[in-house]
């Protein structure tokens, strides 16, 4: 079989400073045009690894191969045409305009005195366009914002015309707009220019959505390397960052933050995507969530589960089983408050409507977001009370008020 050769290959590599090994026994390879994210807590050794890959540090053991050649034996001028870097340090020497700053990256391509040929100038302009910074062309780099400067640094790395770019925390200190812009630029480096990108990142959610491969750096080694779709599970991410009170959901592609549950329990009857926002709000305000009955492919289930809720579930596409309804009734009996998220009803989840009626029978107060005029309607029974609410905020505010009034 004829596989394309990897750009970068690492074999039994130990990296570190002097004789202190920071990461042990690394082995991975990076293909052409691949986007690789290195994830891991601060101080795990991501920067040390990148510095070794860029040859700023020598490996303590093992070797790095660039296009099948040992990194240590590549002449420096040649290496600069194959690999470039964007560091966490953002240099901004005085009296430098963006064009001239980016042009510094032509170093390995220019002659002894570093004079730019028209061809060099074209490449510089092209890379400034690549990062959408044409409007910054004549600006002094000292007047740029962090985000703008980062784009310029990426342009400077790109202007070396490398096959691989190493970036150390390229989104650090950037606002959301620039964060997204930088990631989009990096992605187009891979997709459109065929450049391999290795970046250390802190946003697991962005990394999961953008990378072809991720490497998880923890406990002096790479604990996992591969496609984020295979690797980034709730458990691995929790282990990677020693999460407590938060969890990563691979289906949602984001991190959910759990509440402390100190405000008391509340039972939410929801489903059909009607309760995700309410769950997060309840969790934020410190309520512990009991909910049901949710189908296991429901968005509400993913969110509730990541928030650590007590979920009563049913298999997808099944009518909710009467036993599950009975279990739910028992939980409702123990809860002081019940929420109806106004979920849409059908044959499969009609049991949840019965559940609400049962709650009223038990005399539980229900906060309901059900629209007036929609069918079927809940009606307050002699025992239960029905509070009609507009949105999630109103529910939780009322709930907090009631909880505080209660003895």
């Amino acid at each position: 079989m004829n596989y394309p050769q990897p750009i970068l290959q690492v074999d039994k590599l130990n990296v570190g400073y002097h004789d202190k090994v920071v990461l042990h026994e690394l082995g991975f390879q990076i293909e052409k045009g691949e986007f690789v994210s290195l994830l891991g807590p601060n101080g795990a050794g991501k920067t040390t690894l990148l510095r070794t890959l860029s040859r700023y540090l020598s490996p303590i053991a093992g070797a790095v191969y660039i296009n099948q050649t040992d990194l240590q034996s590549i002449p420096q001028g040649h290496l600069a045409k194959v690999m470039s870097v964007v560091l966490t340090e953002k240099p901004s020497p005085p009296f430098f305009r963006v064009f001239d700053f980016v042009a510094l990256g032509r170093y390995p391509h220019t002659g002894f005195m570093g004079k730019l040929t028209p061809a060099d100038e074209r490449v510089v302009m092209e890379s400034i366009k690549m990062v959408h910074a044409e409007d910054l062309l004549f600006r002094d780099i000292n007047t740029l914002s962090d985000g703008e400067r980062q784009k310029i640094l990426i342009a400077r790395a790109f202007v070396q015309e490398p096959q691989i770019i190493l970036l150390d925390e390229p989104t650090m200190h950037l606002d959301l707009k620039h964060r997204m812009e930088v990631m989009t630029i990096l992605q187009s480096l891979c997709r459109d220019k065929g450049i391999s990108v290795v970046a250390s990142l802190h946003d697991v959610d962005i990394a999961a959505k953008i990378s072809d491969k991720v490497g998880l750096v923890k406990d002096a080694r790479i604990i996992a390397w591969g496609e984020p779709e295979n690797i980034l599970h709730a458990e691995t991410v929790a282990a990677l960052y020693d999460f407590e009170g938060a969890s990563f959901n691979r289906f949602l592609g984001s991190v959910e933050i759990r509440g402390n549950g100190a405000s008391g329990s509340v039972f939410t009857v929801g489903g059909m995507g009607s309760s995700a926002i309410l769950y997060r709000l309840l969790s934020k305000r410190g309520f512990s969530i009991i909910t049901g009955v949710l189908h296991e492919n429901d968005l509400d289930f993913f969110v509730a589960n990541s928030l650590g809720a007590d979920c009563l579930t049913e298999s997808p596409m099944e009518v909710i089983a009467p036993e599950t309804i009975e279990k739910a009734k028992k939980r409702i009996f123990k809860c002081a408050w019940v929420i109806d998220t106004g979920f849409s009803l059908g044959a499969l989840n009609y049991g949840n409507f019965d559940l609400l009626k049962a709650a009223l029978e038990m005399g539980k107060p229900i906060f309901s977001m059900r629209k007036k005029g929609g069918l079927p309607q809940l009606t307050a029974s002699s025992k239960g009370i029905l509070f009609s609410c507009e949105d999630e905020i109103q529910i939780v505010n009322m709930l907090e008020k009631k909880v505080n009034e209660a003895p």
Partner: protein
């Protein structure tokens, strides 16, 4: 794009012309005006005919011209030395004097001048003192570097340099205390910093060695520019960091050592001139700054020397006093305008 480059280039050419013109004027002033009045026509004739036998000829050639040339060369060397150090440390407030390099050189020169080590080989005089100064400069540099690399902070670097300066000064003063009285007077005069009494063989040495070093540095402008981004970036662009580091520091030490050996410690030129060059030429590009600092350093030192000589005649002021008068305010104003940050 090109439009703006043209504008910048025009500005730089204008400044180069102005500065070159100023050099000619200031050297001319230094040759024509002095404590002994010699009419211009006579000066003109003496210079043209290379007449050195008469008293006036001696004054013009062996006192004024040699001194004027030494000031021009010394200023150029100190400025480039300062420029190299500023690029190397990526710290705008460093210079050979601040980092203690000049003090280290002074210490070694005082060792040679005040003790009897050179007894019997006076014919080697300019070389011995220069070598001693170079050794002292390099030794101080190594110490400052070894401490500064441990604590990567611009302020620490300055403090280390300052402390080294004090230490060298302390040892020098101990040497002075033990020295013979006849030797002290010459030493004290030298230590104030002055281009007076410079010998032609010293100027030849400065021209030869210094010229080669300046050419070498101009050739290094490309890696110097890469160095503006810091070592790690420079290395990733293909600069051989280890070789380059040594080369820059050796050149900086050699240049400032040479000046210290012949003229004594001269403050502020190495620190202030690179800043002034950046402002004049509106760039950090070392292709422009290296020649720019050479010329600007030459002008300023030459003018300072003229002022030192003529301001309060017949008393000659120490050169460092004049350079401090213009250098210190420049550095302060740069700091206050936040043009530079440590």
């Amino acid at each position: 794009m090109s439009l703006m480059n043209v504008e910048l280039k025009k500005r730089q050419i204008i400044w180069f012309s102005i500065i070159t013109l100023l050099i000619i004027i200031s050297v001319g002033l230094n040759v024509i005006i002095g404590s002994v009045h010699i009419p211009f026509s006579e000066v003109y004739q003496i210079v043209l005919e290379h007449e050195t036998t008469s008293t006036k000829g001696f004054i013009i050639w062996n006192i004024r011209i040699s001194r004027a040339l030494a000031a021009v060369l010394g200023g150029a060397f100190l400025s480039v030395s300062g420029l190299l150090l500023q690029v190397f440390f990526r710290n705008p407030i460093v210079g050979p004097f601040i980092l203690g390099i000049s003090s280290g050189a002074t210490l070694m020169v005082s060792f040679v001048m005040l003790t009897t080590i050179t007894l019997g080989c006076t014919f080697l005089s300019p070389f011995i003192t220069t070598l001693a100064a170079f050794a002292g400069a390099c030794a101080t540099m190594v110490i400052v570097l070894s401490i500064a690399t441990r604590v990567k902070s611009g302020i620490t670097l300055l403090i280390v340099g300052l402390m080294m300066g004090y230490l060298c000064h302390a040892v020098t003063s101990v040497l002075v205390a033990f020295a013979e009285k006849e030797k002290i007077k010459g030493f004290v005069l030298w230590q104030l910093g002055s281009f007076s009494g410079i010998q032609w063989n010293e100027i030849q040495m400065m021209l030869m060695i210094g010229g080669i070093i300046l050419l070498l540095i101009y050739g290094l402008s490309k890696p110097l520019n890469a160095f503006l981004l810091g070592e790690e970036y420079a290395s990733s662009m293909g600069v051989n960091i280890k070789l380059f580091r040594i080369l820059i520091l050796l050149c900086a030490c050699a240049l400032s050592a040479m000046v210290t050996a012949v003229a004594g410690p001269v403050a502020f030129i190495g620190l202030a001139v690179p800043h002034m060059a950046r402002l004049c030429f509106n760039t950090s590009n070392n292709h422009v700054l290296v020649p720019g600092s050479i010329l600007l350093g030459a002008v300023i030192t030459s003018l300072c020397d003229f002022i030192a000589r003529m301001a309060l005649t017949p008393v000659e002021l120490p050169l460092s006093a004049i350079t401090a008068f213009f250098g210190a305010p420049i550095v302060l104003s740069l700091l206050l305008k936040r043009r530079v940050s440590i």
